[in-house]
């Protein structure tokens, strides 16, 4: 198990860092937010990222991919987390694209993954139905109709659902909410009749969507994987996505911490820098320890995914819960340490705190992952 980056991985990380620092600093997120940009992200930059191979790091070469590991993609996610990059990397490549990669047939993979790899198609995963993440709680109905299926129900908090051209929809074909069996994944055109998309603006300046499916007719060939066995496809895709999101959160938390630390070293009150006060020093040191633990467990989760380790799912939950808690602590503490300027919109630290909360609730908060970890560990 490698908890230290190889030279190549380190180089990739450095390259990613330079790229996002130059092309997509936090100011870019502010610009997108303030202009209420029609798409909520810079499509030109997405093309550039795709040209660098970022949209296809984990895809096989036959679909235009780089055929590298989750560990490599994790380095890109971490750096994107540092500058709060608003791009459809998670939604398109890892969540929806990940489901196609994990369960799609050759035709689906060739069509979808090749287009995604080229930066030519945007996807979204329509999974969540209430205010809390719970993948097995799906109730959106898929009934057999004609040769195919008819989808009826609503999805919420569909990341980048407002720009996606195709949706991977998690539907229930049998059983009831909470059952692992009975889920089926469908690949649905966002423009299909009966699909209505409502863009939602979130506190972090990013976008998701509420999507209604009013008797949407799909062909049988739209099924990804096996009918009723969607969880077999969904779970590995979600594990990988969750590990990568944890890597992004590590980057966000590290940057917020670095900024707070810099502020502690420069802001003067009572004639000295405020970082000389023990009341702040200990809190900074505490955060540093949490970040070190977060870094370790993120690296281990990424490694476990690539190795197909039997405890990969438990490690992913461990990593997500840890990053949730660390980012919560660092985000809140950073705002407090910045004092009055910290609660102004002018100072960027607030962007980190708001983004922190969205990231925490995305793909499971800490209580979800504690519960999942305990269940996987047999208690």
């Amino acid at each position: 198990m490698a908890l230290v980056l190889t030279e190549e991985q380190d180089l990739l990380k450095q390259t990613a860092r330079e790229f996002v620092q130059e092309k997509s600093p936090v100011a870019e997120l502010r610009r997108l937010r303030d202009s209420v940009d029609a798409t909520g992200f810079d499509g030109g930059l997405w093309k550039e990222m795709a040209e660098l191979g970022w949209a296809s790091v984990i895809y096989p070469e036959e679909f235009g991919g780089m055929d590298l590991g989750t560990m490599e993609l994790g380095q890109i996610f971490e750096e994107c987390g540092r500058t709060l990059v608003a791009q459809p990397l998670l939604s398109t490549v890892v969540l929806a694209g990940g489901c196609v990669l994990a369960g799609g047939n050759e035709t689906q993979k060739k069509d979808v993954l090749t287009a995604v790899a080229g930066g030519e198609r945007l996807l979204a995963l329509a999974l969540q139905e209430g205010p809390h993440y719970d993948p097995l709680a799906v109730t959106l109905q898929a009934e057999e109709a004609g040769g195919g299926y008819r989808l009826t129900g609503s999805k919420t908090f569909v990341l980048d659902g407002h720009v996606a051209e195709q949706l991977v929809v998690v539907a229930r074909t049998s059983g009831s909410a909470g059952d692992r069996d009975g889920l089926t994944l469908f690949l649905v055109d966002a423009g299909a009749s009966g699909v209505s998309v409502t863009r939602t603006l979130t506190v972090d300046g990013r976008n998701s969507a509420n999507i209604d499916f009013a008797g949407v007719e799909v062909e049988r060939s739209a099924v990804i994987g096996e009918v009723d066995a969607g969880a077999d496809v969904l779970e590995p895709a979600l594990d990988r996505a969750t590990a990568l999101l944890a890597a992004e959160m590590l980057g966000t938390a590290s940057e917020a911490f670095d900024r707070a630390l810099e502020y502690l070293k420069t802001r003067e009150q009572f004639g000295v820098v405020i970082g000389s006060f023990q009341g702040l020093k200990h809190r900074a040191a505490d955060m540093f320890v949490e970040l070190e633990l977060s870094k370790s467990i993120v690296l281990e989760a990424l490694t476990a995914i690539d190795a197909g380790a039997p405890d990969a799912s438990a490690l992913v939950s461990c990593a997500k819960a840890r990053c949730n808690d660390t980012l919560f602590q660092v985000g809140n503490e950073a705002v407090q340490m910045f004092g009055g300027i910290g609660v102004t919109d002018e100072e960027e630290i607030g962007f980190f705190m708001k983004r922190a909360r969205v990231l925490q609730f995305t793909l499971g908060n800490s209580s979800f992952h504690r519960d999942r970890f305990a269940a996987l560990e047999g208690f």
Binding site: M1, A2, L3, V4, L261, L264, K265, V272, V273, G275, S276, Q278, K281, H282, A284, A285, D286, F288, V289, E292, L293, S294, K295, S296, I297, L299, E300, L315, S317, C318, A321, R322, S367, R370, D371, F373, A374, A375, E377, G378, F379
Partner: protein, 397 residues
């Protein structure tokens, strides 16, 4: 790799032949731990036999150079040895502050002559070492220590008092911080001395802790004569050695937080199921279950961080602030685990001794009480936070 496999097979055979069967049974009480020392020399029991055989191979200190009595093993071989010992359920042949604290410092700072003299004794467990650091007036502010060592020409004359000297009442020798210059800033007047606890003028009195008995003592020095060749490193250069040794100590104490089941050999989840009930294979009480899950996850993050640090060192990366993090997090986690276990066991964890409580329950009570000291000894949690803030984060005084 083929060599390593050969080594594994040879090691397995050697353990099979040389580890007496009673030494493969679980250690049931602290009395069964082998500390070596002069008192052990006359014994002929299985414990002594196992110590002698391991000491002869140098395998009590597997990676120390063989010229100093160590095993001379590579890190990979030492790992194999450790794996094989564990697989055979072999008890540690020797537990000693000489191995975990003094030895590494001697390897780094002692003269060749001193290494040749002291290290083989540590390997063979001939001397039981104790540590003379803290004083009644010098706890967190260790460098303010007042125990004096005056230069009397051919020897030092030591006067003063130490506290929290673990096992001073059983130890043969002490490694001790003393003040050799009072005219300079406090860090610059400290020296590192080794001396015999049987020297005239040394007296010891045990300290009882909130957990009942304890290995801690107060140690008094009145005109103790110490030969000059027992000074390690430079005169007045002891603080450098002291700090390095503390790193070893902190790593050791932090690692104790990984006794995952607390005082019991059972895991916390299993204990929680027994005391708080089980429903569908899960701990019935959801709040307890969440607490236990948090502990288990924290422990996982912690062990992964230990491993990452080891891998980074192997990859030649500069050492991070590891020992302070380990000390801080490991001990705080250990305290949290014991508090959780006590709350899970309820009034059954409140017994002091006697009937009405299982051995596991009584053990947990004492371990819980003992854990309060973990975040104090070897530098308090607050001192560790200071160190991280200053040395790692670069925050000013």
């Amino acid at each position: 790799m083929a060599d390593l496999e050969t080594f594994r097979q040879e090691t397995r055979d050697w353990i099979e032949t040389n580890c007496p069967p009673p030494m493969r049974e679980k250690v049931e009480s602290p009395d069964e731990i082998e500390w070596g020392g002069r008192a052990a020399q006359g014994r002929t029991d299985d414990r002594k036999l196992w110590l002698d055989r391991m000491g002869e191979k140098g395998w009590t200190c597997p990676t120390w150079p063989s010229e100093y009595g160590g095993g001379g093993l590579s890190k990979e071989e030492a790992k194999v040895l450790q794996e094989e010992l564990r697989a055979a359920h072999a008890r540690p042949a020797l537990t000693s502050f000489g191995i975990s604290m003094l030895g590494p410092a001697l390897l780094e700072y002692a003269s060749e002559e001193q290494k040749k003299h002291f290290l083989p004794q540590i390997v063979k467990g001939e001397i039981w070492w104790c540590q003379g650091y803290s004083e009644p007036g010098s706890g967190s502010d260790l460098a303010s220590l007042q125990t004096r060592a005056e230069d009397k020409g051919d020897h030092f004359l030591v006067n003063g008092q130490k506290i929290w000297t673990s096992y001073a009442d059983k130890s043969d020798w002490i490694f001790c911080l003393v003040r050799t210059n009072t005219e300079v800033p406090k860090h610059d007047g400290i020296s590192f001395l080794l001396f015999d606890m049987a020297s005239p003028g040394v007296t010891v009195s045990p300290i009882q802790l909130i957990s009942g008995s304890s290995p801690f003592c107060q140690t008094f020095f009145e005109n103790v004569k110490v030969p000059k060749d027992q000074l390690i490193g430079q005169l007045n250069g002891g603080w450098t050695i002291a700090k390095r040794l503390l790193q070893h100590e902190r790593s050791m104490i932090g690692g104790m937080g990984l006794g995952l089941g607390g005082g019991s050999s059972r895991g916390t989840p299993e204990i929680a199921k027994e005391y708080r009930g089980e429903r569908n294979g899960q701990i019935a009480d959801p709040v307890v279950r969440a607490d236990v899950a948090q502990l288990q996850m924290d422990a996982r993050c912690f062990t992964t961080t230990l491993r990452r640090t080891a891998e980074e060192a192997k990859a030649g990366m500069p050492p991070g602030p590891a020992s302070s993090i380990f000390k801080l997090y490991g001990t705080e986690m250990n305290k949290r685990r014991h508090e959780t276990l006590v709350s899970i066991m309820g009034s059954q964890a409140l017994g002091w001794e006697g009937e009405g409580f299982t051995a596991e329950e009584l053990g947990e009570t004492r371990d819980w009480l003992r854990s309060f000291g973990n975040s104090i000894e070897g530098g308090t949690s607050e001192v560790q936070l200071n160190i991280i803030a200053k040395r790692v984060l670069g925050l000013p005084d």
